[in-house]
């Protein structure tokens, strides 16, 4: 909580804002090029390929805008979450309120997902439009201190603007997959109609090259988009853990909670690949076993718990230059 800390906190928000803009720009550029290549591959000439470009751009912009303003509602609906008030779950509501006071942020909306596997996530586009959600299993299995640790972690995602960034990344991945699927299915069902007419001339050859490029892109783009999503969310989990401890001053609560959540063998049915990166602990358990790999949305939970335990004993922990604790 020294000045340096406050500074890095604001810097992190600024960095998230800047990265968000870069991400949108890169995404639009990619969609434009990808759309043009697909258009060329499908329709067979440079002018008509502009139709593909326009279509991809429209799909990209529309899905981007819809997700930015309604993404949180879509995620909550997909998870079958329902909003609660203080009287539905007093302890949960109180704990969230405590964390909103500790962080100085407005009170977020609180949702419950009816699922016996313990987990939690936060979503929304900024702290004024934020939602935190927990599963009913989390409420049953965690004690008050542990629940507080989890909610502090979620409020940290809200405070750091991670929720907006995660949402944008989710849109990027979703739209890229959508366009790729659209192209690959079209190809399968008898695409390259224009190509049939033009085979034999130079345009046809160029078209075949474009088809090949488009196929390679359609296969690789979703993979790269997903890798981006994963690498980003891994770093953020460490930061959110550290910020959570700054809010609760109680590393033990979060450490115990993470231990309980990871020891739990139940599968979270409400989660899917599109929402997995939002949760506090990776809900797709079979990934967790080889989570040191590229394809994990979360850092290994043992490492997160180890860092928190080190804070507990007041020691110094360092991991990949991300997080450190110091005794006052």
């Amino acid at each position: 909580m020294d000045q340096r800390d406050q500074g890095t906190f604001r810097e992190r928000i600024a960095r998230n804002r800047r990265n968000s803009l870069l991400l949108i720009a890169a995404f639009l550029a990619f969609v434009t090029i990808f759309g043009y290549i697909i258009g060329f591959a499908w329709l067979g000439d440079p002018t008509r390929a502009l139709f593909g470009l326009a279509l991809a751009l429209v799909v990209g912009v529309v899905s981007g805008l819809v997700s930015y303003f309604a993404g949180d509602k879509m995620v909550l609906a997909a998870s079958r979450a329902r909003e609660i008030t203080h009287d539905d779950a007093p302890v949960l509501f109180n704990v969230v309120e405590e964390m909103s006071i500790a962080s100085g942020l407005p009170m977020p909306k609180v949702y419950i997902v009816d699922d016996s596997a313990p987990n939690a996530f936060a979503t929304g586009r900024d702290p004024e439009h934020a939602t935190v959600a927990v599963t009913s299993g989390l409420l049953e299995k965690l004690d008050r201190d542990e629940l507080q640790g989890v909610m502090a972690h979620e409020m940290s995602h809200v405070a750091n603007f991670d929720i907006r960034y995660s949402m944008l990344v989710g849109i990027l991945v979703g739209t890229t997959v959508l366009i790729s699927d659209f192209f690959l299915r079209g190809l399968w069902l008898g695409g390259g109609r224009g190509g049939g007419r033009r085979s034999g001339n130079g345009g046809g050859q160029l078209q075949i090259i474009m088809i090949l490029i488009a196929i390679v892109l359609a296969i690789l783009a979703p993979l790269f988009a997903r890798l981006l999503q994963l690498s980003i969310s891994r770093q953020r989990e460490f930061l959110a853990d550290a910020t959570a401890v700054r809010l609760t001053r109680n590393p033990k609560g979060l450490a115990d909670a993470l231990q309980k959540i990871s020891d739990d063998r139940e599968v979270l049915e409400a989660a899917n690949r599109a929402t997995a990166h939002l949760y506090i602990v990776n809900p797709i358990k079979r990934f967790e076993k080889r989570s040191k790999g590229l394809f994990s949305t979360h850092p290994p939970i043992e490492e997160r718990i180890m860092i928190l335990r080190a804070m507990e004993s007041g020691g110094v922990a360092e991991t990949s230059g991300q997080t450190s604790t110091e005794t006052p």
Partner: protein
């Protein structure tokens, strides 16, 4: 030549003015944060004052032999509700917390009270309100620290006093209930 020099001077002055405005606005924002977080403490303190009479009403009949427990709470409450300096306030709040803690300790001796849902619900509300008070204080201290550091450091220190930005008082922690843990990120 004279015109070039004039333009350079004007540009420098404009940049300095913009810089000063940005610093001033930063100070105002931080001061407002401090005041806002102080109000939040008051909101939570008031919430607890409002909860207490209901609690006492609900458990009164079980405490006929333990009147002084209830009297202590009532006294501590009216003491804490008086206007006072943040330092004194912290002391009388600690006394009130002690008195309430005493009530729950005594309640342990009464089997019919331990399973009383009114008491259980109140215990959650009260302990949550206590948490909210201490988190509100923690946030107040965080914003005071940020604000004080800002007005004491260069360049704000040149004009902060003249502009009426003065250091704010910290809320002193009472008792060892919260050990401080400092976390930094790099």
């Amino acid at each position: 030549m004279g015109i070039v020099l004039l333009i350079v001077i004007v540009v420098i002055v404009v940049i300095l003015v913009i810089y000063a405005i940005a610093i001033y606005n930063g100070l105002v924002r931080r001061r407002n944060e401090v005041e806002e977080s102080y109000r939040q403490i008051d909101v939570q303190l008031k919430r607890r004052y409002d909860l207490i009479p209901n609690l006492l009403e609900g458990v009164k009949k079980y405490f006929r032999q333990e009147q002084d427990v209830l009297t202590q709470i009532t006294q501590a409450r009216s003491q804490a509700m008086r206007p006072q300096s943040p330092g004194q306030q912290a002391q009388s709040e600690a006394r009130l917390s002690g008195a309430i803690g005493n009530l729950f300790a005594v309640a342990e001796n009464y089997p019919e009270l331990r399973s009383n849902t009114v008491l259980i619900d109140f215990q959650e509300e009260l302990s949550s309100t206590e948490n909210k008070i201490s988190f509100a204080r923690q946030h107040y201290n965080d914003s005071v620290q940020s604000y004080n550091t800002k007005i004491q450091s260069f360049p704000a220190v040149i004009f902060s006093r003249a502009m009426g930005f003065t250091e704010k008082e910290y809320f002193e922690a009472q008792g060892p209930e919260r050990e401080s843990v400092t976390v930094s990120y790099d």
